[in-house]
């Protein structure tokens, strides 16, 4: 009743009964594109409001209150404002690379977002090498950030981009290794296969090493979104705004939106590989059959969004609680602490899988 699969198949049948085949395909492609775009924009708007409100409450303020009831229209006001701002024509930058960077950042962000599985039947990109695909396409964003900093021809953006490059590539290793740990446990690289493998219990409760992998993934994922204690690529007190200083108007807005949705995507992938994606919470016991039945009644998309937003809230909590790291501390944390631990954890997981 509450699942979206019925609606999707109804649209498909209605289209294919009334249109020729090529038109059906075309309309479906357009619908998929518009659907992803709408979801992407909606999540960006929700996250912008959430961030501002949560940040305000952490600092004992009220946050936006004027636009709409309880400030609910604030992100729309922000969006309209940023669309009306001038895109300043720069004289000394490399125009081609300057705009290519923008495309790379958004392609990386939207294509990773497309790999999320929002519910049982709302599945976008699901390759049989899904984990690999996610790792590969999300690193397009790094290229975009490096290009943005370099092509702006500004010293602040240059330093910001270099810091971002060093930080993102370093932390990509740890998040990649923790995903690898999960691939060892699940025995497949397909994201839907990984979720399927969690139908009895989530991976989190299948092995003790998953906990270590999840903690490392969350730290590394948080660092990859350039936020919180790891925000030195755009440290506003040192570099004014880091790699996107020279972007104005909507070009800056796209960077902003991309960053927010990346936060959700990281949380979503974490949900899918550690917390069972859209799988409801089940207790594997005789006496819990009634409890499991009640859990099954909650729609699967609600499970996914609840878990993902739970992880997003965790990320906001970290962001507003810790002071910024220095670059040597940042690289020390990654290369001397997280990296050896995740290598060891991977090996232990392989032993666990082979012997249990």
């Amino acid at each position: 009743m509450l699942e979206v699969g019925g609606i999707l198949s109804w649209i498909h049948e209605a289209l294919s009964s009334s249109c020729p085949e090529w038109l059906t395909l075309l309309i479906e492609y357009v619908l998929i594109g518009v659907g992803f775009l709408a979801l992407y924009a909606l999540i960006a708007l929700i996250l912008i409001l959430l961030e501002r409100k949560v940040c305000a409450y952490y600092q004992c303020r009220l946050g936006p209150m004027r636009a709409g009831f309880w400030g609910l229209l604030q992100p729309f006001a922000d969006m309209i404002k940023i669309l009306m701002k001038e895109i300043i024509p720069l004289l000394k930058n490399d125009k081609f690379l300057f705009f290519t960077a923008l495309f790379l950042v958004i392609i990386g962000s939207l294509c990773t977002f497309g790999a999320l599985q929002f519910s049982k039947d709302l599945i976008g990109i699901d390759f049989n090498v899904g984990v690999f695909y996610v790792l590969a396409i999300s690193s397009l964003g790094v290229l975009g950030i490096l290009l943005a900093g370099w092509s702006s021809n500004n010293k602040y953006t240059m330093i910001g981009a270099m810091r971002a490059g060093a930080q993102l590539v370093s932390y990509e290793l740890s998040s990649g290794l923790s995903l690898l740990t999960i691939v060892i446990l699940g025995g497949t690289m397909q994201l839907s296969g990984l979720i399927e493998a969690q139908s009895e219990t989530w991976f989190l409760f299948q092995s003790p090493f998953t906990w270590i992998a999840m903690i490392i993934y969350l730290i590394a994922g948080h660092a990859e979104t350039n936020r919180g204690p790891f925000d030195l690529p755009e440290a506003e007190s040192e570099l004014t705004a880091g790699y996107h200083i020279e972007y104005s108007g909507i070009t800056f807005g796209l960077f902003y939106v991309g960053e927010y949705v990346n936060m959700f995507t990281i949380a979503g992938i974490g949900t899918m590989v550690f917390l069972g994606g859209w799988q409801p919470f089940h207790i594997n016991a005789e006496w819990a059959a009634g409890f499991n039945g009640v859990m099954d009644m909650i729609p699967t998309w609600l499970w996914f969004f609840a878990k993902a937003f739970g992880l997003v809230m965790l990320s906001l909590w970290v962001r507003w609680s810790f002071p910024r790291l220095r670059i040597d501390q940042l690289l020390h944390l990654e290369w001397k602490i997280l990296m050896p631990i995740s290598l060891l954890n991977m090996l232990l997981m392989a032993l666990w899988v082979a012997y249990f």
Binding site: L37, L83, I87, L102, G114, G124, I125, F132, N154
Partner: protein, 117 residues
């Protein structure tokens, strides 16, 4: 509908979204020309020289290390999918590969390549 087709659709969507946003912004926003406005932003004083110059080698070292370990992760993925079926023998086989890598990391650590100086 296969994943590859959806992937292409999503990619085109991303490109269209950026193009549309830039065009809408360009149409709605005010435009004015000013010689000072096009200069690189720097606290009100003109920038000295170009910003496209040689940069600190520390970042380069980390990029090299990243390359090594990223390729390692790529090579480990096929093994990871079949660890369950390979059993203990598979771990023995991969242990040698990992040993070389860990030696590499230890060497870089001892040489001080992981320090930020």
């Amino acid at each position: 509908m296969g994943s590859s087709e959806i992937f292409v659709v999503v990619m085109i969507t991303a490109v269209v979204m950026v193009l549309a946003a830039i065009i809408i912004g360009w149409l709605l926003a005010p435009k004015s020309k000013n010689a000072q406005k096009g200069e690189p932003y720097e606290c009100g004083i003109p920038t000295r020289g170009t910003s496209w110059l040689q940069f600190r080698p520390g970042y380069y070292l980390f990029a090299l290390l990243f390359l090594m370990f990223d390729v390692e992760t790529v090579l480990l993925f096929p093994w990871a999918t079949i660890t369950k079926t390979l059993g203990p023998n598979g771990i023995l086989a991969i242990l040698f590969f990992l040993l070389i890598l860990v030696l590499g990391l230890a060497y870089a650590w001892k040489k001080g390549a992981l320090e930020w100086k």
